[in-house]
């Protein structure tokens, strides 16, 4: 069935229907042959919205373009009115077509400048709207959990409780290895949980296992795992929760000290304290003088301080023991840690904090000789300690890098697996269907880790449901004749949504967000996103350029803004709601993500006579499609160089990051771009564009004449 589009034009509170501008808008709408035009009063208000919804239902329209006033328009109201009529709330596109003329009383609306181009642009977009069939996909209900310790155990138990089949892959023999929190409730909890899972039915435990590969994609991964005996098996899993901490090494102060018999980790000290005979064997009969160091090299986390204080309290409880805790920043940002620190001090543990300088020293046969600069006394201190115990910092081994690689992820600069993108918070990874929680993500504390695990479990529930997921079939179309299987799309997809089926790239509808980065990056132009085809954007840019003959259009055709739908569009919308007028000479085309903007779109804009193109993306690392803005940045840089080679000023292509809350900044960015164009002067392509356009129109008119005569 062909689309039936309703075009709803707002005629304002008092009649603006007689104005020439409104008539032109109406003609533009009527020229669109797949639609029907309606005029409604106050589309922006509840009554008008209800009227729109009623008309959509009455005329059995499949989609709608609704012109409304940017000052008032209430998308929430319209989607509610649509749901009230039992319609899809997403079916209507709201366009800012009205304006309140300066100095006029309230309720007097007018057609916004550039409304005609905006409407024809939207109608062009409408032609590409396509509803894809829904399909029921079968997904695996086993979920792989990689890691050991509390977060991994929480995840496995949560999965079991929610009716999924957890496969727990632990790097060592134990499910709950001794941790820093020795002697606290958390350790008992981990031990009890490990026991519970060992005895539970419906859990697969693979101890000392190694992940060899993770093929497929969200919903249907194939995990290849080697167990302790070296036997390899393939498992079908719907999702993966990674809770495995990177291997750690002593967090040594910058100068002089190295790991040794008397320079140990807090973890080792904690286990010595569990068994007093080991402590005696190592340090002789007490009393002991022990130095603890937390965060002396790299920054520590609250969990490290808790571990150190647990050890310190145990030692301080021994008669005549002496404990000094050295740190740079006491990380007390955790539940009741401030109070605990005060209590531990009260129990006789001495805290030494450094602003500059630090701890130096040498290990001897009997212990360690330490020196430090005492800031309050302004003197260098030296003392003997039987033992120095330090926290640990990530020191990723080749095996950890390999695990990351097998998962399709990478180890970050800080040694953890967390990606740079803010929008991967709180628990996502760079690969859809793979969650990163707890010590795999980064430093944290138990509360944060517990929340991350539950957030991941919610993600599993959303992805896998009861084993069947109803989903729109894939929007990513790969032209087999053009595709050379270079797999660029597989590499660039921010969500890891490009799978390979029979070696050919194929998009996974469970993972794809439709950002279009793959289509823009494909060197063979083999990829089109349904609804976001290249032809749609060339059409929209042409429509946005308007026609030379239209009064004022040529003047306005100065800056083409390609705006990200997630950041720049909301920011611009907010700016207009706050009453700010957009500068003239500006045309907006919304893209799903700046990652979709390719060279063709930029060149189309320049060829159509725009003096410059401004790409508005999310800030790098704050992209709503994780890495789309990063790709956009790289592409724009490259394209700028190419423009320079052709003799065109590379400054005509601009890119700027904007957050959705930056309604002031987005206008400043646009004004700056316009100022740059003022400096550069009109584009040399402008005249050519106008000549071409007039010629095209002339020949088109001839065709029309002939067809009428014929």
């Amino acid at each position: 069935m062909s689309a039936r589009v309703g075009v709803f034009l707002c005629q304002g509170g008092r009649s603006q229907a007689d104005s020439l501008e409104f008539k032109k808008l109406r003609w533009t709408a009527e020229a669109f042959d797949q639609g029907r035009v309606f005029t409604v009063a106050h589309t922006c208000q509840a009554q008008g919205a209800a009227a729109v919804a009623r008309l959509i239902k009455e005329h059995e329209l499949t989609s709608a373009v609704v012109g409304a006033c940017p000052l008032l328009h209430n998308p929430g109201g319209l989607s509610r009115a649509l749901s009230a009529e039992g319609l899809d709330p997403q079916m209507a596109t709201v366009l800012d077509l009205c304006a309140k003329p300066e100095g006029e009383a309230s309720g007097v609306c007018a057609v916004a400048p550039g409304a005609q181009a905006a409407l024809s642009q939207a109608l062009c977009g409408e032609q590409f709207k396509q509803e894809l069939p829904l399909e029921d996909l079968a997904v695996a209900t086993s979920v792989l959990v990689v890691g050991e310790g509390l977060p991994a155990l929480w995840a496995a138990r949560g999965l079991l409780k929610a009716g999924y089949h957890p496969v727990l892959l632990t790097p060592s023999q134990r499910l709950a290895p001794p941790a820093l929190l020795l002697g606290t409730e958390a350790v008992d909890e981990a031990a009890a949980l490990a026991k519970e899972l060992e005895e539970a039915e419906g859990v697969t435990l693979i101890r000392q296992g190694r992940l060899l590969g993770l093929g497929g994609g969200a919903g249907n991964f194939t995990a290849t795992i080697a167990d302790r005996a070296g036997e390899i098996r393939s498992l079908s899993v719907g999702g993966v929760i990674v809770a495995q901490a990177p291997p750690k090494a002593l967090n040594l102060p910058p100068q002089g000290l190295a790991a040794g018999e008397r320079v140990v980790s807090l973890e080792e000290l904690a286990s010595l304290l569990q068994a007093p005979e080991h402590l005696k064997k190592r340090l002789g009969q007490g009393p002991y003088t022990v130095a603890l160091g937390v965060g002396l090299g790299r920054q520590a986390a609250p969990l490290d301080l808790i571990g150190a204080m647990n050890c310190a309290r145990k030692l301080a409880a021994g008669p005549q023991n002496r404990v000094v805790l050295f740190t740079n920043n006491a990380k007390v940002a955790g539940d009741d840690l401030e109070a605990l620190t005060q209590q531990v001090r009260g129990e006789g543990v001495v805290f030494v904090k450094f602003t500059t300088g630090g701890l130096r020293g040498d290990e001897t046969h009997e212990g360690v000789e330490l020196q430090w600069d005492e800031e309050i006394l302004g003197a260098t201190m030296a003392d003997h300690f039987d033992l120095l115990a330090l926290d640990q910092a990530p020191a990723p081994t080749p095996a950890y890098h390999e695990l990351a690689h097998r998962l399709g992820l990478s180890v970050g600069r800080d040694g953890y697996l967390q990606p740079e993108a803010v929008n991967a918070l709180p628990a996502k990874s760079r690969r859809a269907g793979v969650w990163l929680v707890g010590p795999a993500r980064g430093q944290g504390d138990l509360e944060r880790w517990a929340d991350e695990v539950q957030e991941a479990l919610y993600g599993v529930r959303r992805l896998l449901a009861q084993g069947t997921v109803r989903v729109e079939s894939s929007r990513v179309m790969v032209d087999r004749k053009r595709c050379t299987i270079c797999l660029t799309c597989v590499r660039v997809c921010p969500e890891g949504a490009m799978d390979r089926l029979f070696r050919r790239p194929m998009s996974n509808p469970l993972a794809c967000t439709g950002c279009g980065t793959c289509a823009a990056e494909c060197p063979m132009e083999a990829i089109q996103i349904v609804g976001q085809e290249d032809s749609r954007y060339s059409g929209e840019i042409a429509a946005a350029a308007g026609r030379v003959g239209d009064l004022g259009q040529a003047v306005e055709r100065r800056l083409l803004v390609l705006a990200c739908a997630n950041s720049a569009s909301p920011a611009l919308h907010a700016a207009r709601l706050q009453g700010a007028a957009l500068p003239s000479g500006l045309r907006l085309v919304q893209v799903p993500c700046a990652g979709k903007v390719d060279a063709d779109m930029v060149l189309e804009g320049l060829q159509r006579g725009f003096d410059g193109v401004l790409i508005l993306s999310c800030h790098p690392d704050a992209c709503y499609s994780l890495t789309g803005s990063t790709w956009a940045n790289m592409r724009a840089g490259h394209l700028g160089n190419l423009l320079a080679e052709t003799g065109l000023e590379p400054e005509r292509l601009m890119l700027s990051g904007v957050a959705p809350s930056q309604s002031k900044e987005v206008l400043a960015v646009i004004k700056k771009a316009l100022a740059t164009l003022d400096q550069l002067g009109p584009s040399p392509l402008k005249v050519g564009a106008q000549v071409r356009e007039v010629l095209t129109r002339y020949t088109l008119d001839m065709d029309d004449t002939f067809s009428i005569v014929g």
Partner: protein
């Protein structure tokens, strides 16, 4: 009384409440969300973007899309300007009385022309307010506590000026009783009020502001200015641990202040070439790539490990900050254009009443503690956390509520 419908009450329309409500609604659960304020958004909607060329990861923008989605989800019923007056448990569910304040401005008629805002003599005091979020509707609301009409009964200038006759002071509020299977409390925190600590000069001197006020200033004006004369602030001090880590006050670390102060400081240094000093006890930042972050901050800002003991501003002069630059050094007095107090996250003053109503306990600092069947907690109602942590905790609340609903007898 029949078995309750499987719908959930979410109290609080900030980022945690919004995330929980969306998570539940996306799983097909009907949600009623009650927000005390006239508009949604809570504290997270006050936060400004602090990005330089690239994102500084303050996590503030995690709130934006979630709050926007909230306004249009068909399974979510929003009760703005509303409070839960009573919550009674009965077998397997809760009955809530939701009181809604009168909407003196008729949203159907109001065209947000802004004439009332221009006419209102008390607009500075917030008598007529506009929302922070672009997706919000209605666009304007009258606040009874600041509006003169509710003091003298005759100041009707806004009503008189409204061309749409949308304002009616005679409108009545509304109260409805609804049944719920589960309740989520996402009632958030309150920024610590530094007024009582007079040595910090807040409320006494115009150019001493709180970090929340700076966030709002950056969000709405795009730059930091001195309130006294509206000039861009060229030299800015941040004072950490205001209302945190205080044995005589809130004896806990608020967890987020070091992070936001360093990011705000870096943004001011980069965007308006401000000279920024941060006065601190311990830098609490931890989490993602923290060494790199602190190194960059140390390069761009002056980090001073010392707490100022007095802040004062002579008339027509800059704010003076008295502190000891390093242990043993003589005290010094330094002028700043703007002093920003990094206020901590204090428990919501309504927590005792909320806890009593929902049958919960308070923890030793006055935050809500979990424990009641069918009642779930999300966000900073439980403890200080950043935006990402609030989102994670909202996911946990949703996950808990969904599991709880599934286990309930049909």
């Amino acid at each position: 009384m029949g078995l309750p419908k499987k719908q959930v009450l979410v109290i609080g329309g900030g980022v945690a409440g919004a995330t929980t409500a969306l998570d539940l609604a996306e799983q097909g659960v009907a949600v009623h969300l009650v927000e005390r304020d006239d508009f949604l958004g809570g504290r997270a909607a006050q936060l400004a973007c602090k990005a330089l060329d690239s994102c500084l990861k303050c996590n503030g923008c995690l709130a934006e899309p979630r709050l926007a989605a909230l306004t249009s989800h068909p399974l979510i019923t929003l009760h703005r300007a509303s409070t839960v007056a009573n919550l009674t448990g009965f077998d397997g569910g809760y009955q809530a009385v939701i009181d809604t304040r009168p909407a003196y401005i008729d949203a159907e008629r109001c065209t947000a022309c802004g004439l009332c805002l221009e006419a209102c003599p008390e607009v500075e005091a917030g008598a007529i307010r506009a929302p922070r979020l672009a997706a919000e509707a209605p666009r304007l609301a009258i606040d009874e506590t600041a509006c003169l009409y509710f003091k003298d009964g005759q100041s009707t200038v806004c009503r008189d000026v409204c061309p749409e006759e949308a304002i009616d002071f005679g409108r009545q509020g509304d109260s409805q009783t609804l049944d719920f299977a589960a309740v989520v409390l996402a009632t958030g925190f309150t920024p610590y009020d530094p007024t009582p600590a007079s040595r910090l000069g807040y409320g006494l001197f115009p150019d001493v502001i709180t970090a929340m006020e700076l966030e709002e200033m950056l969000r709405t004006q795009g730059r930091a200015v001195r309130p006294s004369d509206g000039e861009a602030a060229g030299k800015v001090a941040f004072v950490q641990c205001v209302g945190s880590r205080d044995v005589n006050g809130n004896n806990y670390c608020s967890r987020v202040c070091c992070g936001y102060a360093l990011r705000l400081g870096r943004a001011l240094a980069a965007r308006q070439q401000a000279e920024v000093a941060v006065f601190y006890m311990d830098l609490q930042s931890f989490g993602h790539a923290v060494d790199e972050f602190l190194e960059a901050a140390a390069g761009e800002l002056r980090l001073v490990r010392s707490m100022p003991y007095d802040i004062h501003q002579p008339p027509e002069g800059s704010v003076m900050l008295d502190y000891q630059p390093s242990p043993g050094a003589p005290p010094t007095s330094e002028p700043f254009d703007l002093v920003v107090l990094s206020v901590g996250l204090a428990p919501n003053p309504d927590n005792p009443a909320l806890a009593q109503m929902a049958g919960l306990d308070l923890n030793r600092h006055g935050f809500l503690a979990p424990g009641k069947q069918g009642v779930f907690l999300a966000g900073t109602a439980q403890r200080p956390m950043d935006v990402a942590e609030a989102v994670a905790s909202a996911g946990r609340a949703a996950q808990g509520a969904l599991t709880y609903l599934a286990e309930m007898q049909p």
